[in-house]
Symmetry: C2
Subunit: 329 residues, 2 copies
């Protein structure tokens, strides 16, 4: 399957079992290639690429959110500089959302932007973060506060690589698909209420939602904000737990449960989440969560855009005084 994303720069997404083995078909082997990956991504995946691009370079960063630091960013840039990479060479992200965000920001800013190819290896990144062009690192404990909008030239999604994920990681990523259903695609949401899940279909439909939204509003001045459903509180939960106790998707799930007001939708969502052992409530200190909301990069002085879902498949943006968010907690 193939999706064409039409933004400031257009690019294809290939969704195909086994396409990692076929990377050569899609990537110009004449260029120099730097693969940025982390120490949790199975070595066999990068070896599959190394066999196809024997001259490529590999940069392995430590796994987890701490790789999205200015220090690791600098380290990656230095590697490219020392190897004298040109503007026409390629940076490949091979890994989850963290690697994509980091490598994407490196590619966005190295010599003012070089070719960026994303090969996501987690459900989370295949379903959501690998497309849309948001790349970023963290600073002073604030998530994604330094970054850019920078579109990849190609996204290669091989659902076979998901087989090595733990069940928890696998489910964690599905939360973004559930979110996509809730805000835009009732049929996608309904797929999670069935017994069997066709993961390729879930990825495909989720990306179609993201494509539709991002194409309308690449730089998040308007409708793109609906993709943040569950993320306003979700990011606060992430900061609160430092991603130790809960993963990103799990925090978004908590965030959606926090913000949902319609009891019927909330019940249906809770049932789906529980089936996948995803938490639906947590013990976070409410005052601390509220304080973290105020530092959200989407907060504008004392106002914040909150995304609400009042009917499955329909989201709306509500601009609220920050103080009103306390009532949700």
């Amino acid at each position: 399957m193939r999706i064409e994303v039409n933004c400031s720069r257009s690019y294809p997404i290939i969704i195909e079992k086994g396409c990692l083995q076929q990377a050569q078909k899609y990537i110009d082997g004449q260029r120099r290639i730097m693969i940025i990956t982390d120490d949790m991504v199975p070595a066999s995946y990068r070896q599959i690429l190394q066999e196809q691009f024997p001259h490529c370079d590999v940069k392995i960063v430590e796994h987890g959110e701490k790789a999205k630091s200015l220090a690791v960013y600098e380290d990656c840039l230095a590697a490219l500089l020392q190897l004298n990479y040109s503007r026409k060479d390629i940076v490949i992200a091979l890994g989850g959302g963290v690697v994509g965000d980091l490598a994407g920001f490196v590619a966005a800013t190295y010599k003012r932007g070089i070719t960026f190819i994303n090969i996501p290896t987690t459900t989370l990144s295949q379903i959501d973060s690998s497309i849309g062009g948001k790349v970023a690192i963290n600073m002073l404990d604030i998530k994604n506060c330094v970054g850019a909008f920078y579109q990849p030239s190609l996204v290669l999604i091989d659902p076979l690589v998901l087989q090595t994920l733990s069940k928890r990681h696998y489910h964690n990523g599905l939360v973004e698909a559930i979110k996509a259903g809730l805000i835009y695609d009732p049929a996608l949401f309904a797929m999670f209420e069935q017994d069997d899940l066709d993961i390729e279909k879930v990825i495909y439909r989720s990306l179609l939602v993201k494509k539709a939204v991002v194409e309308q509003d690449e730089r998040e001045n308007g409708i793109r904000k609906i993709l943040n459903f569950g993320h306003t509180f979700g990011h606060a939960y992430e900061s609160y737990y430092h991603l130790h106790d809960y993963y990103h998707g799990e925090c978004v799930a908590l965030g959606m449960m926090t913000v949902l007001q319609d009891l019927d939708i909330k019940k249906r969502l809770a049932a789906i989440l529980q089936k996948m052992d995803i938490p639906i409530m947590c013990d976070a200190d409410k005052e601390k969560i509220f304080a973290l909301l105020a530092t959200d990069k989407k907060a504008d002085h004392e106002m914040i855009d909150l995304i609400e879902v009042t009917k499955i498949g329909q989201a709306k943006i509500v601009n609220l005084p920050l103080a009103q968010l306390r009532a949700y907690l």
Copy 2:
């Protein structure tokens, strides 16, 4: 005078004596404003802004190329984060090219891009670097190797602020205007062969050249490269002398003298430069200059785009093996 630049994002340039005093007319005082400036910019200029925007914040960095470091970049981002600046707030660069590059890259990446206003205070930045959207910092002694294409929302050019520049700095910036004439505008070049120089006209015509070129090719995939005339060797001279002995414009002058093959044009250029006490030759070690050329970010493996002027007002891009550059030295 007003120039409208039409790129991915369009913005006005105001060229007007005294417009610094009128900044309020152009800048939304309702937003928070961070002025990034350096310790060489006369304090009175930022005070003129502070009187108009009493609530603004000011970040003063050390002057000179060393401000374009990752450490200073981080420092500026941290200041914005700690003050909780939102995406709709404003970063103003008040200073020369260094401040514009640094503040522009901060604005380009803070929360994935906030409003950027450039108020250049040197001939160099008024004539050249404040428009076009190139922002960057340096790493590992390589100039502008980390950056972005990010357009300002407004450029405010007040020729009165040039009065406090030393003669050498004033002339240094004029080199980019001479370059603009050489590559695109014979009448602009001819102005330098007259006795009196109307600086407002020089700025205006230079910016028209830059506008014409940048609008055709914002991201420097083709014709925009002609703006680099003199810069290939110029950047190598800069790295060689670490900008101690020669300023940027002076290095570009040396670079133009190095690359010019037409003896008549070379003679006319030399006469103009000498009138302004700008060096036309230097004692740099040729082998070291050649080695520095190979690390230029415009070099692509063993090839480099060199800009040549064979007739005043006309430039062409020649793609050469790096090795051939030795012959110019």
